[in-house]
């Protein structure tokens, strides 16, 4: 574990107040109590004198330790979270009376389109799917897997949708960059293809929601709408 030692030494130089044997159980306790994904940065804030390097090294080490346990420590939605190991799924499920809410095929298709094409309008989604998507979209917003992030600056100023933290959590993704690569169009097709996952940017700017919109005068982060497009990705990539 030379990585660990290097990090610890760096930590020592920075502050050096936390010996490994205390940091590890402490971080474990925080993760257990938090439940939600806990960003490494947040952990550094909680533990006075700790450094991001030693916290990250400890998290990685803990994750390795958990590989042989019934609980896993995984990196998800910009943070670290304890989750049950997948092999116990059948038994753990018995704890809960309610069946897990199934994602329909329409919902999965739609959220996939949003994930890869965001920010995206309903019209753009329907162009891909070839069917009315209003109801599906509404239920995705209700389940908080998608949300409205603004309006597109084209006639009619349609709402634009993006994925949420909850989307990342549901599918166990660290960030949007971790989305599986979208299958390529056939090679015969490259000349025609105008779409390529993230590289595809619709030229019309995305407007923040305005006061006359859904009363969502987009507050302090109004100016950051462009940046919010992939905020889920950039927010807490690994810290």
């Amino acid at each position: 574990m030379s990585e660990r030692e290097t990090a610890a030494r760096q930590g020592d130089q920075a502050s050096g107040v936390w010996p490994v044997e205390r940091l590890r159980p402490l971080i474990e306790a925080l993760l257990f109590a938090a439940g939600d994904p806990l960003p490494a940065k947040k952990i550094v804030e909680f533990i006075e004198g700790s450094t991001i390097e030693e916290v990250r090294a400890t998290l990685t080490e803990l994750a390795t330790e958990y590989l042989t346990r019934g609980i896993r420590l995984i990196e998800v939605a910009g943070g670290w979270q304890l989750r049950t190991a997948p092999e116990h799924q059948r038994y753990v499920r018995k704890l809960f009376r309610e069946r897990p809410q199934r994602l329909t095929r329409a919902a999965t298709e739609t959220i996939a389109i949003i994930a890869y094409k965001q920010p995206v309008t309903r019209q753009e989604i329907e162009t891909v799917r070839g069917v009315d998507t209003g109801g599906v979209l509404e239920s995705l917003v209700e389940r908080r897997l998608a949300k409205v992030i603004g309006r597109k600056d084209v006639p009619g100023r349609p709402l634009v949708y993006a994925t949420t933290q909850e989307f990342l959590e549901l599918f166990g993704l660290r960030n949007l960059r971790e989305l599986p690569t979208l299958p390529e169009l056939g090679s015969e097709f490259e000349s025609m293809s105008e779409q390529g996952g993230f590289s595809e940017t619709e030229d019309a700017p995305i407007l923040p929601l305005e006061d006359d919109d859904a009363a969502q005068s987009e507050s302090s982060h109004a100016g950051a709408v462009a940046g919010r497009q992939d905020s889920d990705a950039t927010q807490e990539t690994d810290d």
Binding site: T84, Q89, R129, I149, R157, L170, G172, A215, S217
Partner: protein
């Protein structure tokens, strides 16, 4: 919004593209060299079968049938050269694109899904320790979703009645702040009395949005579907509140709803509202 007439579900397929993709796959066809005549015949055969089975078919299916038949008919006509048929190319592109997202969706579905394959702890924050609990700061879009639920409940409870009661955002904000000062924190639902008129709900919500926007009040949520808690960010808020409330006067419920964008202004487009903010000097 979804037009109910279109929602009749043909459960087996998600739409005409899905059906086409099914035909491509079951016949092991090359999507990039789509035999239009063959696929059209099969597609139409399916549609006829649906009709025989008395399934209500969404308009999109019929539209696709029509354009397939048009493409097929064009292929029967003599052509000057082997110019690629524009419509066919468009269809192939659409189908190939749809297929990519279908595959992406399959990959997503096969991941270890939370609450299906893997489970997390549901945190229970100790009472009174709210600041230390893992709260997620909400933005206005989140609050809006919460309002939608409040309004939906209210609508279900009360018969519609037309009233011109006047509610002042100013008063609502003042009472909100004093309640928060007294209680420390309030749950979102507590802001809205069970039998509050719609206009009052709207006024309260608008006031809350302003306060959140100006950093006077923080709205935070515990977990994904937990309660939404409101608290004052700063004890000394009187001045900000005075400034804020000056912007609003007493306004009717209808005006407020329009301002909030909860109803579309009649015979008017959003642009006009844009140019004339009216209540927000």
């Amino acid at each position: 919004m979804a037009t109910p007439a279109y929602t009749v579900r043909l459960d087996a397929f998600e739409g005409p593209l899905d059906l086409l993709l099914h035909l491509v796959r079951s016949n092991e066809l090359d999507i990039y060299h789509l035999p239009i005549a063959q696929i059209t015949d099969q597609y139409v055969a399916y549609i006829n079968m649906f009709e025989e089975l008395n399934l209500d078919i969404a308009g999109e299916y019929l539209l696709m049938a029509a354009s397939l038949m048009y493409m097929k008919s064009r292929l029967l006509l003599p052509r000057d050269d082997d110019d690629d048929d524009e419509e066919v190319a468009d269809l192939v592109r659409q189908l190939a694109d749809y297929q990519r997202y279908r595959e992406a969706a399959d990959v997503l579905r096969d991941r270890l899904l939370l609450d299906r394959d893997v489970f997390r702890r549901q945190p229970t924050a100790p009472e009174g320790e709210i600041e230390e609990a893992p709260l997620r700061r909400l933005d206005q879009a989140d609050l809006f979703e919460a309002l939608r639920r409040v309004l939906a409940r209210a609508a279900a409870r009360r018969p519609h009645s037309v009233s011109r009661e006047e509610f002042s955002v100013r008063d609502v904000v003042r009472s909100m702040v004093s309640r928060l000062k007294a209680a420390g924190r309030l749950e979102f639902q507590e802001l809205f009395a069970e039998d509050a008129p719609r206009g009052l709900v709207i006024a309260t919500f608008l006031g809350l949005l302003e306060m959140v926007k100006n950093g006077v009040i923080a709205a935070e949520q515990q977990g994904r579907f937990g309660a939404i808690w409101l608290r004052l960010l700063d004890e000394d808020v009187d001045e900000t509140v005075a400034d804020l409330t000056e912007m609003y006067g007493p306004r009717s419920a209808a005006e407020l709803e329009e301002a909030a964008g909860l109803v579309a202004p009649i015979g008017d487009d959003a642009r006009a509202a844009d140019e004339d903010p009216g209540w927000q000097e």
